[in-house]
Symmetry: none
Subunit: 194 residues, 4 copies
Amino acid sequence: MSDTTGARARRPRTDAQRNRTHILDVAEQYFSEHGITGSLDAIAKQAGIGPGTLYRHFPNREALLAALLKAREDELVSRHDAIRREVRDSTEALAQWLEALGRWSTAFEGLPEPLRMALTEDTSPLALTCQGYITITDEFLTAAQRDGGARPEVRGRDLFLSVLATSWVRSAAMADESSPLALNALMRTGWAIP
Amino acid sequence: MSDTTGARARRPRTDAQRNRTHILDVAEQYFSEHGITGSLDAIAKQAGIGPGTLYRHFPNREALLAALLKAREDELVSRHDAIRREVRDSTEALAQWLEALGRWSTAFEGLPEPLRMALTEDTSPLALTCQGYITITDEFLTAAQRDGGARPEVRGRDLFLSVLATSWVRSAAMADESSPLALNALMRTGWAIP
Amino acid sequence: MSDTTGARARRPRTDAQRNRTHILDVAEQYFSEHGITGSLDAIAKQAGIGPGTLYRHFPNREALLAALLKAREDELVSRHDAIRREVRDSTEALAQWLEALGRWSTAFEGLPEPLRMALTEDTSPLALTCQGYITITDEFLTAAQRDGGARPEVRGRDLFLSVLATSWVRSAAMADESSPLALNALMRTGWAIP
Amino acid sequence: MSDTTGARARRPRTDAQRNRTHILDVAEQYFSEHGITGSLDAIAKQAGIGPGTLYRHFPNREALLAALLKAREDELVSRHDAIRREVRDSTEALAQWLEALGRWSTAFEGLPEPLRMALTEDTSPLALTCQGYITITDEFLTAAQRDGGARPEVRGRDLFLSVLATSWVRSAAMADESSPLALNALMRTGWAIP
DNA sequence: CATGAATGAGGGTTCATTCAT
DNA sequence: GATGAATGAACCCTCATTCAT
């Protein structure tokens, strides 16, 4: 039905891993197209597996999402390192980090919603991820504040939320593409000291 | 629950009006309690009418929402007038208007979502409402910009979106109550000229 | 898809009742074949309706069962009347009533189970039905006891339970058809005074 | 059962034995708590083994149950011996044996069901066990009948079934605790000759 | 106009059983 | 042997929307 990749023709035991990867591939594609509220069963079907198998790997939507984001974590981490390495100006570093976060949180249509919720409910598999990024944000922010580049009253958590909020605005194929940019600019004016 | 009392036994058209009002009352209450994603069927049932009747009055959830917000329009309009009348400082006027908008857009849990969508899809019954408020925002903004109180590059639409974004963050019973305030402050710092 | 009966070709409003009847017909047949644990969805499908429709009429399995038994209630009630009218001997009357109960409780494979549960959980739609029959049993029993035909220590509830228990034994296509009869005899010896 | 010798105490097979025992321990506990319809997967997980391993030892739920009951066989057998030894009156002996059977068949919530089925389907691993007990019941019964303590038309199989039926009634936490006792009494009156 | 029955895809979830390793 | 991933049918239930009456 969907041996598109040919990755899962037989089912050797190794396919545990292989299947997992395949699911993630399909989910990635599916969420990209239909947003994160798409049907999990549909993903399973498209991956050529039973719903039970999907459920075994990822007990719920958030777990799947978390795994999907995990895959992008590397990207974000290396971006983090790169900024650390290359950007001398701490304010600019913070700005670039926030921009990277913005890209990360717009990976899928509707993603900001569960991310925001994860900040409230610690039970979410996404909570840890978010917390980690807030911490990083705090590091960049502290540096910028120390260097007089960011307002002292701002907190990392607030910046993270602003990023989510901006990403949320960006969602749903905004006709006016300039709005997110405007919001970003507005935000930056908000936390930066000129 | 309160129908069938025989109160609406005779006149044909008055029913429609009374029904409409009743629906709105019930929906107001229901959305307040369960958020805007609650079941429309439940609203109909609670209003003592069939789902078809609800549908006749409001062809979809957004239409119902629009009607509900219409009822709050008066509030917002009079707030608008009051600000116009009483607040001399144009920057402060803009700030107060945005604050009023913020209250308006948090009337129901989850409301920011359809409002944002309404900005994209002009087909939404909410679109008109939003457009009107964007226009008003623009008026206040223009005045503030003319008086040197707001950055010239900012647009009314962007401010409206930031209000929505902040309201969105506020949603879902955020444990940390200070975040929305922080975001508001950040936004204000963003558009204001100190 | 399954206009077997031809009863539901179009869907006039009257079909509410007609559908209900049709569902009951199908369920009757289905439960007869597969036992009461059969799939409700399958019944819906076989009836040519969506699961939602089934659910509207009968919110759960027990409700459906109760409706199905209601249909047999007439049978039992008229049997009750007939016994009252025709059987002079109170002991024989009780015996015949218990026999009628036995037939009633073996209408479907597995039926005794929810009936027994209904005696514990008053929430079950079957509870009322059972209670009613226990009351009738008590009436017959009291008469028999008064006439010295039944042991005084026996209670109607116990007899009802014995009937259920015997029916339970009878279930599942017992190879040895004589066992239920033997149990019935044993039971009768149990409560009767020779 | 077919573990050939018990001499090879050390190497490979010991695991198997130990595992088997462990599974039985866990299953005993699990069935005691959740009734016999609980999830086999859960038992496997709780025993720290894979479902496949469980399946290897016990190809299905009934096999597991049979093994579990086997463990209680000793208890029942020694009860049997004790009755044989100590109870002179054959009628009383039969009564005590039936009581022992009753305790045995209520070891787990829901146990009577598969036991009854085992009487129909000879394929069940429980069938043999049941047959054995029916035979014993027949022995006691024959003795009682010979001594004029039990009605001649009653058969051991019927008594066994009545025990199951009574146990079945007892299940599911009947609110009315007296009912099972009443049923027992009724049954005894049924087979005994006063 | 009001009604409410019908629709039916879709939701998440469970679990006995098989089988590659 | 032991393992545990895979399977996939089946479960019950929800709800926005349509449409005959």
